[in-house]
């Protein structure tokens, strides 16, 4: 696990949430990409600067009463997807 405090490049995380968030929430989640799955779930994905930022996002998710289904970290930047 990368514990260095100076990240020269961010990690890419994908968070799956229950329910459907509109793209208007992207700004609230610090510029992450919001996309909808066919099963009516939402994916939040994007670069995360460090763990503290990730926990900040978790707190926001918690405060909006959204359900976290999964959290995954990608090795490289995923190919650009269209936002729904």
């Amino acid at each position: 696990m990368n514990t260095s405090s100076s990240n020269t490049h961010p990690e890419y995380y994908t968070i799956r949430l229950g329910g459907h968030l509109t793209a208007s929430w992207a700004d609230w989640f610090e510029g992450m990409t919001i996309s909808e799955t066919e099963t009516g779930e939402t994916t939040l994905s994007g670069p995360i600067m460090d763990q503290a930022m990730l926990h900040g996002i978790f707190a926001k998710i918690r405060d909006l009463n959204l359900t976290i289904i999964s959290v995954a970290r990608a090795e490289d930047e995923p190919p650009q997807r269209d936002s729904a």
Binding site: T22, D27, W28, L64, N65
Partner: protein, 901 residues
């Protein structure tokens, strides 16, 4: 924090009259009273707070008295009293958290925790555990049961506060019950509590509405006529989530197309809150919508503040209207002055607000910024400095934020809110920081107090030129520099800077100068420069009085008294000490001073008022245990040992010295403190005639130390041991040198002591008598007694002679009467001189092996020596340590710290 805002934190949220009865949950809460902790952990909108206030209400069903001037309900019939504390992010500062916790507890008993509060506010608060122990002791003394509710605990993220809670839970008095409401499980040992059945939990699944409850809510509380199927759909879709049902109900009120709404709602995947809030908003008037949007940026709202943001005058009316319509607004103060939005709703609105100002990225937040700016201005005009700064930062108006921080930094530092100041600066761009000089100085202080010396010097350097033009600021600037210099051990530079600052006329900055003078007095004192130390201490006390800094006043006056005692003005010293104990006419509460009490005790010891000295010392000890002041504890135990020995209680004296050593260990005191204890051991050993032990202890004193080492005494152990070895000439030489050193700083106390020792080391009788006469004449006015008596039997003969020769006959008679008849104080005059030496390296090796239980043969083998040699070494060791056999030797060596216990 402003008093009215504080009250909102302690206010128990009111219950609504329109509620669904939830007897099963209330029963669980009642069960929970038997455990230490009730935890209600669920996301927002599950009705945690509502449930709890409903429960508190039900605890007192008859004749409830609502006293609207105080944020608490009185329960004349119930035996459970409840204190409430709503937490916010600022409570992550442990000292602030504790302050508000005590504030909440004071709604139960007005004076509760006053001692702890006083300690909290002192310049160097004792460690947290000490504070908590003091508080918990007070709670344990409360007669009836009580509960403390902590609301919104999830905002707490700082480990020190979690540790405090952990500690409180571990030591919870049996009458106390803790309730925590949170959106996330706190990092406390919950598993342990669960296993021991010491925890009652209510979680999301417990708090969800059951089908029956949902039905009751929709029909009875919200007044909707819905079919069973519709109710079912709504319940299924919201999964019993109360806030969701509430929103759904609000969306349905007065609507005609109910079936259509339910169909869409029931089948959709959209984020419920978003969808429903939109539905609710759409049905409000434009006026209401604008109001909601604009005020959503606020944490707390009050009529006039809302008006500042909307530019209208109907703020108060709007808030009351919203509350009445059950539209997400809750009152948070007794008098319907302050309100806040329900969290979820506020987040929705804020998100909308961000989006509503469409356009290029640059203009995106313009409207929001303006709102924050207006809020900041209102808060500032109404005296809420913290909130004003928060909003200025959110407005990203750095100039505004900088100037507000500049104004607020002084009082923040005075209140000890160091973390706050450091946090502010982090949020501000560097260029803005530098242009606010007061902020910079306080930032430098904050950094110094958290040990970040180079960062402090950095900011001082940046403003070096700018401060020259402002005398008040210059004083502060020099003060920080002086402090840093002293911390780095650059004494001369520190003194120079301090003197420069003190030379600036007083009118400009009395506060800083008082702290500066205090620092300078200590610098002089620790450098052994007694006379300047006394002058500056006096000035410092005077400045402190002008600045209203009472802690500094007590400290400096006590220091002055100590120096007066050292310079031989015993009675004057007592008077000075008494001033600090009586308190100052301008100060209402007085916590007293351990330093003064122990100082007076030392004086009365000298005057041979042993019982009185003991009483005072016991008080000083209590005080030092409360403040957690390790050095004071050690000093008190040392003096106690002397008093007890003087009373003939050898065991008691030994115990007291053990306590002194405990204090050194527990508080991890410096080498100098350890050496003071060792030096005391030497004195006590000599007084008991245990020369060997005295020698061993003396060998452990590192040093050398100057006059400040043993106030008001001066280190004479070396000379005393030399005399005991029979080397009078050697002793006399050492004493002459010590006398020189003492007289340079007018340390009369020490000078008299040295004269007496010199009398004992004199070559002939005539010289001895001459020296003693000088000492007697000198000491009579101030009534010294123990300086003579502690010298032991050898002085008796000399004193008798003095009486015969007519030297101060009454005084001598008094002194002679004070000598014990049993001869406890006795320095033997014939002891093999070789034994009054420290152990050699080889002897130490042998001793360690002896301590490990090895036989002579084993020791010989280990060290490659002949057995005979080992025996010879052991013989020497026994003599030096003062033992007759191996067992005694090991025991004594442990006592003398030559072996580890």
């Amino acid at each position: 924090m402003d008093a009215s805002l504080l009250l909102t934190k302690l206010h128990i949220p009111p219950t609504s009259t329109r509620l669904v009865a939830r007897p099963r949950l209330l029963a669980r809460l009642a069960e929970g009273l038997a455990c230490p902790l009730t935890l209600i952990s669920a996301p927002a909108g599950f009705g945690k707070t509502t449930l709890l206030s409903e429960w508190l209400d039900s605890l007192n069903s008859e004749q409830r008295t609502v006293d609207s001037s105080r944020p608490t309900f009185h329960y004349p019939l119930s035996t459970l009293r409840v204190a409430w504390l709503s937490l916010d992010e600022d409570d992550n500062d442990p000292l602030r958290f504790l302050t508000y916790l005590i504030g909440a507890l004071q709604t139960l008993t007005p004076d509760l925790g006053e001692t702890t509060l006083a300690l909290l506010r002192s310049p160097q608060p004792p460690p947290t555990k000490t504070l908590l122990t003091a508080l918990i002791n007070e709670l344990t003394a409360l007669a009836s049961r009580f509960a403390v509710v902590l609301d919104d605990y999830h905002v707490i993220t700082a480990p020190p506060v979690h540790e405090m809670l952990s500690y409180i839970l571990d030591h919870l008095p049996s009458q106390m019950h803790l309730v925590m409401l949170t959106r996330a499980d706190p990092p406390l040992p919950l598993a342990r509590l669960r296993v021991r059945n010491q925890l009652v939990e209510l979680r999301a699944n417990d708090l969800r509405f059951t089908s029956e409850e949902a039905a009751m809510f929709l029909s009875d509380v919200m007044g909707l006529m819905l079919s069973a199927q519709d109710i079912n759909t709504l319940e299924r879709r919201t999964e019993g989530w109360i806030a969701g049902l509430q929103l759904a109900a609000l969306s349905l009120k007065g609507r005609e197309d109910i079936p259509q709404f339910i169909a869409t709602f029931g089948g959709g995947h959209a984020y419920i809150v978003d969808y429903l809030v939109e539905e609710v908003l759409v049905r409000q008037t434009e006026s209401v919508r604008t109001f909601l949007l604009r005020t959503s940026i606020l944490e707390r709202m009050t009529g006039p503040l809302c008006d500042a943001l909307t530019g209208r005058t109907d703020g108060q009316a709007m808030l009351e209207q919203l509350e009445h319509a059950n539209l997400f607004v809750t009152p948070i103060g007794g008098e319907r002055c302050w309100y806040r939005y329900h969290h979820l709703f506020a987040d929705m609105m804020r998100n909308r607000l961000r989006q509503s100002s469409t356009g290029a990225m640059g203009e995106m937040l313009g409207q929001v910024r303006e709102l924050h700016r207006r809020a900041s201005r209102w808060y500032e005009q109404n005296g809420f400095a913290d909130q004003a700064i928060q909003h200025a930062l959110m407005a990203q108006d750095w100039k505004l934020a900088g100037s507000l921080m500049d104004k607020g930094s002084q009082s923040a530092m005075r209140n000890g809110e160091i973390g706050k100041v450091l946090g502010w600066v982090k949020a501000l761009p560097a260029t803005e920081v530098v242009s606010n000089l007061t902020l910079c100085i306080n930032l430098a202080w904050a950094r110094v107090l958290t040990g970040q010396f180079s960062a402090a010097e950095q900011v001082l350097e940046q403003v070096q030129d700018s401060v020259q033009g402002d005398a008040g600021l210059l004083v502060d600037w020099l003060a920080v520099q002086a402090f840093i210099a002293r911390a780095k051990g650059q004494m001369r530079q520190s003194i120079e800077l301090a003197e420069r600052a003190l030379a600036i006329p007083e009118a400009h900055n009395v506060e800083s100068q008082s702290i500066l003078a205090l620092s300078l007095a200590l610098t002089y004192y620790h450098s052994g420069k007694t006379t300047p130390a006394a002058l500056v201490a006096d000035r410092a006390a005077h400045l402190a009085e002008q600045a209203g800094n009472w802690h500094a006043w007590v400290f400096m006056t006590a220091l002055l008294a100590r120096i007066q005692a050292a310079q031989g003005h015993l009675h004057q010293a007592e008077e000075t000490y008494l001033r600090t104990i009586k308190g100052h006419p301008q100060v209402r509460e007085w916590t007293g001073s351990g330093m003064s009490q122990s100082g007076i005790a030392a004086l009365h010891y000298e005057w041979n008022d042993l019982e009185y000295a003991k009483t005072l010392l016991e008080e000083a000890l209590q005080h030092s245990e409360l403040t957690g002041h390790g050095e004071m504890q050690m000093s008190c135990h040392r003096l106690m040992a002397r008093i007890l020995l003087a009373q003939g209680d050898v065991q008691g004296a030994t115990r007291a010295m053990a306590c002194a050593e405990d204090a050194v260990r527990k508080h991890n005191l410096s080498q100098m403190m350890r050496d003071r204890v060792a030096a005391e051991h030497v004195q006590l050993a000599l007084a008991q005639g245990d020369l060997a032990a005295a020698a061993q202890w003396a060998a452990q004193v590192q040093g050398p130390y100057g006059a400040a080492f043993h106030y008001p005494h001066i280190p004479l152990e070396g000379a005393m041991l030399t005399r005991a070895r029979g080397d009078k000439a050697g002793a006399a030489a050492m004493l002459a040198e010590r006398y020189e050193a003492a007289s340079q700083e007018n340390l009369e106390y020490a000078q008299i002591e040295i004269r007496i020792e010199q009398a004992l080391a004199a070559e002939d009788r005539a010289q001895a008598l001459r020296l003693l006469t000088e000492a007697l004449t000198w000491s009579q006015p101030e009534g010294y007694v123990r300086l003579f008596v502690d010298r032991g039997q050898p002085l008796v003969a000399l004193l008798r002679e003095a009486v015969q020769k007519g030297v101060a006959p009454e005084y001598c008679a008094r002194l002679l009467a004070a000598f014990p008849s049993s001869g406890v104080h006795d320095i033997p005059t014939s002891v093999p001189s070789a034994w009054v030496e420290p152990l050699t390296e080889r002897e130490l090796q042998v001793l360690r092996l002896l301590g490990a239980g090895k036989s002579n043969q084993e020791i010989a083998d280990d060290l490659v020596l002949a057995v005979g040699t080992v025996k010879r070494h052991l013989n020497n060791i026994f003599g030096k340590v003062g033992a007759q056999n191996r067992t005694e030797c090991v025991a004594r060596s442990r006592e003398l710290r030559l072996l580890d216990s």
